[in-house]
Assembly symmetry: C2
Homo-oligomer: 197 residues x 2
Amino acid sequence: MNQAIRANNRNDVLLDSAAELFSARGYQASTMRDIARKCGMLPGSIYYHYANKDALLVAVYAEGVRRLTERVEEAVAAHSDPWERLERMLATHIEMIIEPTAYASVIIRILPDAAPAVARELTDLRNRYELILRNLLTALPLADDVDRKLLRLLLIGAANHVQVWHRPGGESPETIAGELLRMVGHRAAAPQDGDQP
Amino acid sequence: MNQAIRANNRNDVLLDSAAELFSARGYQASTMRDIARKCGMLPGSIYYHYANKDALLVAVYAEGVRRLTERVEEAVAAHSDPWERLERMLATHIEMIIEPTAYASVIIRILPDAAPAVARELTDLRNRYELILRNLLTALPLADDVDRKLLRLLLIGAANHVQVWHRPGGESPETIAGELLRMVGHRAAAPQDGDQP
DNA sequence: TCCCTAACCAAACAATCGTTTGTTTAACGT
DNA sequence: ACGTTAAACAAACGATTGTTTGGTTAGGGA
């Protein structure tokens, strides 16, 4: 009754190709012909899987959020200390947006207004992921005068910008995340017992 | 002998229009027809002033760097304290990348690889401006174990990201720059006399 | 006043874009 | 073994893209 998905379905290859091109060249610069060529299809064949180019971008976005969320929550779950959890989140996040398998990278590089017709969907997907960071920050013991919203935006901006300047063989995501929190974190930390256990 | 520039030359209006569209919609999404319509020209007329679309982007970039450099150095010159100078630089930078008169905004939003043929020129222009921040950081008294390069990239990322999330009527650039350095700066500061004058 | 040319207009160009249409192939349930 | 249909191919569509070409207008030095 409901349509079966055949074994030789190349939807995932298609999605991979789109993600890589969107990530490397941007949305508008990646043509349907480029994507088709990359995954060994013809341009028209893409439209069997997705209604249009915008829908393809939404699919890549959704898969990116899914993978990011999965990996981040997995990395965070292993720790209980709020600062440690935040550091693991940032390290994993940075790791994923600089690797060539580029689903996560698309979410950072392609702004929602690149596809106005589906901008709202893209923003919602972004927000769903950012909620993780928001919750991690809420759990963080901070001095009263620290603007949590501003701190969050600062961290997002600094972390996402790594995608622009990082080169293969450079600092590891762990190092970057560590330095990031070493600069920001301790200063903002509320006075607590057992600071150096 | 040398060609005179007439009074009714609308090159500046053309450049303004291009800057606004590039800033608002991105490079590829802004067509020559859009730009022409915005400044009351016909599409072909643009080619009297610039050889092609890429050259137009380079011109906008150059003017953006010129304005940024001018305003920032002017704001910084009024102070002598390294931290104060850095804060003034960041505040001015943020102020210019969120205002609608969008030359500075283009430099942040449009990455050099949006126009591969002139990517090198665009990168050079960016670097020339970033040199200011680099020099301000060099003059900063910091603890020995602070990674100046990473600090610079963190600041750039956080500052530029303001363009994405800031809405009219939100926090002032001064406030944002202040909070930014309050989080980052003091922690990284080397022990110095007269910490609270 | 005259004339040169800076500064534009008007209209098309070839190329490329996202997309549609009709047809073909081959994997799967029965 | 057969018939259905998922999944693709082959080829074009109209629209839009950056750009070119030849003609027009008006500002300013002589």
